[in-house]
């Protein structure tokens, strides 16, 4: 792994995009909820449930699209559930999110056991996966082909969703209302906006994104569901959103940075350093980046 030439760098890029995809999808979901003032801590559980629903429904129907739809619906339903806890029962938002994560971890395992008799994974189900896309002309061009073609459909979806979410938040009436609700719910209510409805919508949408992120794990990365397979990515997504300072493009760059750090730590395994130390890389790089970024902001503010 010492020959870090251009060729190996280019083969490295698909890995970065793969690692980034679930983080980015979930982080965009977190972004929508956060801008509406209801930070979705339950994104981890929603991801896991999405992964589960995708596998089970695609195995039952034999259709990857139906499985994917189920993943989105499952995530959205959990968003609705979280919002029920927060808006109807008036429970604490953070605590309800944590509880939702607990419930999702237990619930998916329990359902898996009831369906397959196995608590670990769904290997016995013939579930379907979503395709990788080859872009006709571009695929043939040497470097560009590797960069732009042959990725998983949800990788494209995730990156296309970035301007989509950005435009939605910054340029549509709904996005305007959502930001107003998140920043100052009293003022939004005075302006005649139904705060509760906007927040419910945001949590459901957030859940849908998390469901898509989960589907990427179980219908893209691998072709099965396994216990707790989200493995903390929801929390990484939370961090990515915060690092992105509330903008869609910022969230994308933060997710890419986190993905890059993770992919680098994977590629550097076997360089002879203790594996534990290599594993700290994906967690230290973001902290350093955060500080560098924050210092620059501070200087800019000081200069202004």
């Amino acid at each position: 792994m010492t020959d870090f030439d251009l060729a190996s760098l280019i083969t490295f890029i698909p890995a970065i995009l793969r690692v980034t995809t679930p983080i980015l999808l979930a982080a965009l979901g977190v972004l929508i909820s956060e801008r509406a003032g209801v930070l979705n801590i339950g994104v981890e559980g929603m991801m896991l449930t999405g992964a589960f629903a995708g596998v089970v429904v695609s195995a039952a129907t034999g259709s990857a699209s139906l499985g994917f739809l189920a993943a989105l619906i499952a995530g959205g339903l959990l968003g609705a559930l979280l919002s029920f806890a927060v808006h109807v029962l008036k429970s604490d938002l953070i605590l309800s999110g944590i509880a939702l994560n607990m419930a999702a971890a237990a619930g998916t395992t329990l359902l898996l056991f009831m369906l397959t008799g196995d608590k670990g994974m769904s290997g016995s189900l013939s579930s379907k996966v979503l395709p990788h896309l080859t872009i006709p002309v571009i695929a043939g061009i040497p470097v560009l082909g590797t960069l732009l073609s042959g990725h998983h459909i949800l990788t494209y979806a995730a990156f296309l969703a970035v301007p989509g979410v950005g435009l939605f938040l910054m340029r549509t009436p709904m996005g305007l209302r959502l930001r107003a609700v998140g920043e100052n719910p009293e003022s939004a209510a005075i302006a005649g906006i139904n705060v509760r409805r906007v927040q419910i919508g945001a949590l459901v949408t957030s859940g849908v994104f998390a469901g898509a992120a989960g589907a990427f794990l179980s219908m893209g990365y691998v072709s099965w569901f396994s216990q707790n397979m989200s493995a903390g990515r929801g929390f990484i997504a939370l961090a990515a959103e915060v690092m992105g300072h509330g903008s869609a493009s910022g969230t994308m760059f933060a997710s890419l940075l986190l993905g890059l750090a993770e992919a680098a730590s994977i590629a550097l395994q076997g360089a002879g350093l203790p594996s534990e130390l290599m594993q700290t890389v994906p967690y230290l790089v973001p902290v350093i980046a955060l500080v560098v970024h924050a210092r620059r902001r501070q200087r800019q503010l000081a200069r202004a």
Partner: protein
């Protein structure tokens, strides 16, 4: 005050019966002896002193982690480093008692102290980055938790590992370093008293000292703190250092109280328990004690039915998640009509939108 607090407890109790009823009853009905299942869940933890002891053992780290979270949340810091601080504190404590030649009487106090100082870095570093550079403490603490985990595993593997052991665990903790047991027949140890004292001191700190008062001012309105000329950065940092010391100290106490060796290979999850407990207690150090005991009671009751009946442990997890949501449900808990019904009196003022405050500090 007391009456409405009491009313809250009565409402909680009634609710719990309902929740447990809704989830557990169908499961229990499918088993041969449904009543025994319910009975074990509710009363089982008190039938055997050992099980009652389990509640208290489990509540000990929960109280301290809850306190660490509460101290930081009160200063407006959404620092999640308690998880990593607890882990690293446990590790550094064990490393100290194993590697540093100390007289027997000094092992536990010095070990815990070193553990607290070393482990607190997981909260203090994000605290410093926030105070100095205004870098989000949520992100850096979330990340440093994992960094602490892997650095900890590295230390165990290369410096503390018992090669005679078949797993990656440290050498055994010397018996002299263990915290004394308080009640025979249980594992309740000195750490429980430390945790209770810590909660008491935490209440004193937050509500009766100048420093705690200032931290709360910063936490509730930083602009007001600036108007008063309070040294905001050092107050923020101080709160997170204190939180880190408590959390890491709790890790050390847990190790010397209940463990034979350092054997964690992943983050033990006490930080999240701390967040849950702190929210249940509304960041009030005294209420942390019943909150932690309540959570542990649920856990022990759940474990008992999972162990003794054909109830999947996951079903117990579901019940616990549901209970958590319901006991913080203001729509029910603080429903003025309900409280009046139970206490026969008007409810106290509810501080406006507490969730909002937490969100605010995230941004």
């Amino acid at each position: 005050m007391i009456r409405s607090a009491f009313a809250s407890f009565v409402i909680t109790a009634i609710l719990l019966v309902l929740v447990v009823g809704i989830v557990l009853v169908p499961i229990a009905m499918s088993l041969p002896d449904p009543l025994a299942v319910l009975d074990t869940f509710v009363f089982g933890p008190f039938r055997n002193p050992r099980h009652t002891g389990n509640i208290i053992e489990m509540a000990t780290p929960a109280m301290m982690c809850g306190l660490a979270v509460a101290v930081m949340f009160r200063a407006g810091m959404f620092n999640l480093g308690v998880e990593g601080a607890f882990f690293l504190g446990g590790l550094a404590t064990v490393a100290t008692v194993l590697l540093v030649p100390l007289p027997a009487f000094a092992m536990a106090p010095v070990g815990i102290l070193v553990g607290a100082v070393v482990g607190s870095s997981v909260c203090a570093v994000p605290g410093y980055l926030r105070a100095r550079y205004d870098a989000s403490e949520l992100v850096s603490s979330l990340m440093l938790n994992f960094a602490a985990l892997f650095i900890g595993l590295f230390v165990v593997n290369y410096f503390l590992r018992d090669p005679a052991a078949g797993a990656m665990v440290s050498f055994k903790i010397p018996a002299e370093a263990k915290l004394p047991k308080l009640i025979t027949g249980t594992r309740i140890h000195l750490g429980t008293l430390i945790a209770l004292a810590a909660c008491g001191l935490g209440a004193v700190y937050l509500f009766m000292t100048r420093a705690g008062f200032e931290a709360r001012i910063v936490g509730s309105n930083p602009s007001f703190a600036a108007h008063l000329g309070l040294p905001i950065r050092s107050i923020l940092l101080r709160s997170q250092v204190i939180g880190g010391l408590i959390a890491a100290g709790a890790g050390g106490i847990e190790m010397l109280g209940l463990y034979q060796r350092f054997s964690w290979q992943s983050l033990p999850g006490n930080g999240w328990t701390g967040v849950v407990v702190a929210i249940l207690a509304r960041d009030n150090p005294i209420l942390l004690i019943p909150a932690a005991l309540f959570l542990s009671y649920l856990q022990v009751g759940g474990d008992l039915i999972a162990r003794n009946f054909d109830v999947p442990s996951e079903a117990v997890g579901l019940i616990q998640a549901l209970v958590l949501i319901v006991v913080t449900a203001q729509a029910i808990m603080r429903n003025p009509r309900l409280i009046r019904l139970v206490a026969g009196k008007k409810p106290a003022a509810s501080p406006a939108q507490e969730t909002k405050a937490v969100e605010g500090s995230v941004a």
